[in-house]
Symmetry: C2
Subunit: 286 residues, 2 copies
């Protein structure tokens, strides 16, 4: 295949690779996310070409949202890399944006944008089996089911956003200024999440602070355990294997919570998964 540029263009960051003969040979990363571009997407894309070469460009992520360059829409579940390739949206010269994926059932729906390339790419690249449960933790944590290599369905939990809301704006936020890492306080939170009363468990942080039952330095890790624990308990059953696309810090927390419910977490390299997916989409591009 001829050389091209692949861009994973998110809300706050972007990462771009020059792909030659199906392999990444150069990479750049900067903080020119969708919010920082402020509408000047053509200029922002030329910066990438100035760095990586004047080549065709394939983009995925929030660059295709209604706050991005061009709204690239959504492909419905069940979704494949071929369906994504068939619905590429032109943006600028010799450049295209990969659509997101949606699932709709009556008045219930869910959306993803950017994760679909990683999820289906993990299977295309042999990093995960064709029948797999996958998890991408973050601000909006994605839980996806791949069946026969197809993205069959998924659910999004606002786990990371809720943690930030609580820390920055809630009454319990004053106590949540400590670090978050796997340890006793995080594990206590995961255990407590099993009682199914999240909003009451969260107020317990206030009570524990007022009554001096827990060191405030542990409160953030405890709340993280409550939220990630609730997230995993809602999605994972004992005996499941979860393929986890996460950075090391968040990956360690989710691995601990997944193991607590009796399941197994298998790490997957999310950048490798993205590359495998976007290269396959380029191959399939009409």
């Amino acid at each position: 295949m001829s050389a091209f540029i692949a861009v994973d263009w998110g809300t706050t960051n972007r990462r771009a690779w020059r792909i030659e003969d199906g392999d990444p040979v150069d990479v750049m990363r900067d903080a020119t996310g969708v919010l920082a571009v402020a509408g000047r997407f053509a200029d922002a894309a030329e910066q990438v070409r100035a760095r990586l070469g004047d080549l065709p460009m394939l983009m995925a992520g929030m660059v295709g949202s209604n706050r991005g360059w061009v709204d690239a829409g959504y492909v419905p579940c069940p979704a494949t890399l071929a369906a994504l390739a068939a619905r590429l949206t032109p943006a600028g010269d010799d450049a295209w944006i990969v659509p997101g994926v949606c699932s709709v059932s009556g008045t219930r729906g869910d959306v993803m944008r950017g994760e679909e390339v990683q999820l289906l790419g993990a299977v295309a690249g042999g990093l995960a089996p064709a029948n797999a449960m996958m998890c991408q933790p973050g601000t909006h944590c994605k839980w996806a089911r791949i069946e026969g290599g197809v993205l069959a369905r998924f659910a999004t939990a606002m786990t990371g956003e809720l943690f930030a809301l609580l820390r920055d704006h809630a009454l319990i936020g004053a106590a949540m200024q400590g670090d978050v890492a796997d340890g006793g306080a995080f594990r206590d939170g995961v255990a407590r999440s099993g009682e199914g009363d999240l909003t009451a468990a969260l107020f317990g942080v206030r009570a524990a602070s007022v009554l001096a039952l827990r060191d405030d330095a542990d409160a953030a890790a405890y709340v993280s355990g409550l939220l990630i624990g609730a997230d995993c308990r809602a999605q994972v059953r004992a005996g499941d294997t979860v393929h986890l696309l996460a950075d090391p810090a968040l990956g360690a927390l989710y691995t601990a919570a997944i193991e607590t419910v009796g399941a197994v977490a298998v790490p997957v390299d999310s950048h490798a998964a993205f590359l495998a997916g976007i290269i396959r989409i380029r191959e399939l591009q009409p």
Copy 2:
């Protein structure tokens, strides 16, 4: 009993009554809550006496917190009106503050301040039976068990605070600017809360907005249904009777959610409950 002044002094409002021969004969209400007083509690108390008479004063609520006039501490569960009366904290001339109530079990705890007078007062005043499950919805919703007339245990859910956090600061908040009332959207939220994945259900509001599956005007009522539904499902079982101390608007929402889980809600007049409780404490005062 001799005349006295009873004050329900909260964070943002206060309500005071002159009690003569065990009956309220005059009342005042203003927005001079603990936050508005800004430390000048003796002056703020004299305003009440200037209006209702130069009488002994019994206060309850956040006036007894560490941000109030004097920290009145907590009486542990199981708690009675006699235990509260025995632990009144002097504040200024001929004035006392009722302590709060705490429950502690290992590193887990809970606290209330102000609600205890209503809860135990409801029983003392014959507004609720001596064995009752009670609920006081609000920013921090209290669920209490009264056993043999004693406040045996309770749990606090940050239901109202979480709703306000989401509306004011979350990504889904932009869609949550409509009114909240009992209706189809609220009931949909209560039904959806039964799936036990609150953080995923919350993200569904974003997806429904992006995919135009639900009118944004209904989003606030739907989220209220999710949160109140989750709150009720965690605390109430089919067949329970819940004595509900709430204003009419919140009372209607909790009644609908409580009925959805197959339980019965019985409204209790919270001001009458407060008066019954504080009058009994005055009678028991050493």
